[in-house]
């Protein structure tokens, strides 16, 4: 392969292969496998297919085994189990019911409830997809019945659905930290403040939208609740969730538990709450573990399949060449950051988040190290880009989750339009992170080692 001598042609060939195989409809895990094998044959083989396979395959198999049998990945299934239990036991619905009592006759109340409920869900579940599907099926029919316009019903759900990716527990953050070999606990905690700021910005956005067009969220009569009833409802249905949040976030910050232990206690916390509320059944346990296995196996198989990819990038000199180029061109670090952010947004238009991470982490993190970025901060910026890319048309995954629960006749364009202002909020958080990096790095700096 004469043309594959420069780092950019090699990188383009390897990355391009994965993207091409994915577009052909090959399951993502298998797209990575075939790209690894072809890459190994081209760059490591002796020119013959059999000889190349004999050289490359043993290494690919060993890499695959070693890639998923690592302790750092243990929080991934635990966070997924936690979220599955939370949704299947109906604890999520209790939170919504309690919030519904508290928001009174506030204009746009259902949109605010979505943001508040979604933010609480994000602290209890590690799955963006599950959060969005849950909120969509709960809130969209109610908001449609109350005459809410589409941007007021779907927008907040699409926005807050993505918060699960940033606010701990986040299975994706664990995966990112593990792949990039950065501190998992610190990356998880780094997401707390930006996530909350994002939730506040969403509320401000709803306020502005209702002010501009009050008809977008018509007021309706709400059965009154006394202050006592509200307090009781919050104490019974929302406050106990704080125990689970403490199990995950609190224990990590206080240095009492590692992220893995915190994940275990988070799942145990949800289980205890379900027992206390008497909603735990054998059927729910089976459903929760089946759902967890489905997502865990899918994610682990992609990791397993892509394990040789970063080695190929390093072995062929593609990673080193990129870093050398980035050092030579002397582009401002901010410009490089925006380029990486842009690449993630483009990839997100047709690819899922796990694949995007596996494709870009081996390239972006060495680059971020060269540019002397704080890697925890950079990890968070990357998570933010991944979150935004979930709602970018034409193929952002959350758009389709929403289409599944939206009223009949809703077009993809309408869903994307509803999501657009919320993407704007996420971009504001990006600017805030660039101007005030402490937003991401302050809480991790308080962590007890």
């Amino acid at each position: 392969m004469e043309i594959l001598t420069e780092w950019y042609s090699i990188a383009g060939f390897l990355v391009g292969m994965v993207i091409l195989f994915m577009l052909l409809g090959i399951p993502v895990a298998f797209a990575f496998l075939i790209a690894n094998i072809v890459g190994a044959l081209v760059f490591m083989g002796d020119g013959t297919i059999i000889g190349g396979l004999q050289t490359a395959m043993p290494q690919i198999v060993v890499n695959a085994v070693e890639s998923v049998s690592i302790f750092a990945l243990i929080p991934v299934p635990l966070f997924i189990i936690m979220g599955e239990l939370f949704f299947h036991t109906g604890l999520a619905v209790r939170v919504f019911d309690a919030l519904d009592k508290c928001f009174g006759r506030l204009p746009g109340r259902l949109s605010y409830i979505t943001v508040a409920g979604g933010t609480i869900f994000a602290t209890l579940s590690g799955s963006t997809m599950a959060n969005t599907a849950m909120m969509g099926s709960l809130m969209v029919p109610e908001m449609t019945n109350r005459g809410y316009k589409r941007h007021m019903s779907m927008g907040p759900i699409l926005g807050t659905g993505g918060l699960a990716m940033i606010i701990p527990p986040s299975a994706l953050a664990v995966l990112l930290a593990s792949l990039a070999e950065i501190d998992i606990g610190k990356l998880l905690i780094a997401g707390v403040l930006p996530g909350l700021v994002l939730a506040i910005l969403y509320s401000v956005l709803i306020y502005v939208q209702v002010k501009v067009d009050p008809e977008a969220a018509p007021e309706y009569s709400v059965s009154g609740h006394t202050v006592g009833e509200m307090i009781k409802s919050v104490i019974v249905n929302v406050l106990p969730m704080g125990f689970v949040v403490f199990c995950v976030i609190g224990l990590i910050i206080l240095g009492i538990a590692t992220p893995t232990e915190a994940a275990g206690f988070g799942a145990l916390g949800v289980l205890i709450l379900a027992i206390v509320y008497r909603v735990l059944t054998w059927d729910i346990v089976v459903k929760s573990f089946a759902g967890s296995l489905r997502v865990t196996a899918m994610v682990l198989l992609i990791i397993l399949a892509s394990s040789t990819f970063s080695q190929l990038l390093a072995f062929t000199g593609a990673s080193a060449g990129l870093i050398e180029w980035a050092t030579e061109v002397q582009l401002a670090p901010l410009v490089m950051l925006l380029i990486m952010f842009g690449v993630l947004l483009v990839l997100g238009m047709f690819m899922d988040q796990v694949s995007m991470m596996l494709l870009t982490v081996p390239i972006f993190f060495p680059l971020a190290t060269t540019l002397q970025f704080d890697l925890i901060w950079f990890g968070l910026v990357m998570l933010l880009a991944l979150e935004i890319s979930l709602t970018t048309p034409p193929f952002g995954l959350l758009l389709f989750v929403m289409m599944g629960v939206a009223p009949e006749g809703t077009t993809l364009w309408q869903v994307a339009k509803a999501a657009a202002p919320y993407i704007g909020c996420a971009l504001i958080v990006l600017v805030l992170l660039i101007v005030f990096p402490g937003l991401a790095t302050y809480l991790p700096s308080l962590m007890v080692e």
Binding site: L23, P27, S69, F350, D352
Partner: protein
Amino acid sequence: MYLVTKAYNGLIIGLAIVAGLMLALIFVGIVADVAIRTVGYNALQWYSAIAEYCLLFSAMLGAPWLVRLKGHVVVESLTMTMPPTMRLLMAKFVYLVCIVLSLLFVWYGWREMMISWNGNEWDIRSIDMPKWILFVPFPLGFGLTAVEFSRYLFGFDSYYAGKVGESESL
């Protein structure tokens, strides 16, 4: 034939149940480990190694079940634009690719397992384990994955939902 099909289906579901139990073991193990340490006893030394093995085994033993559930992530944005005949041919080609890849991993997984067995190699973790155990799920998981994909190749069912955004993710 009926009995063979029934036994095979039982095997796929059975392996998925074992994989699910491994996730449960990871969960129970971490809680037990911390609880035991908290009351002053030594940590469960075997836990981290067993949990790491469980991760690998749960992924590989759950793999054929995942194919049956159409649970692998696929991107359908391009194939959806193809005419139906072309889409069908493309799908059959993809199944074939997945089968060939799976069989490659069956062969080389088996080979690595035998090399470790014959060489009496050990995997050094929090507890030492015979290294061949690590490779056991490869021939098994990928072998059954190949069979599952061949059901799509030779059958009428399609792995594809026919619309974008159906795949699950985190």
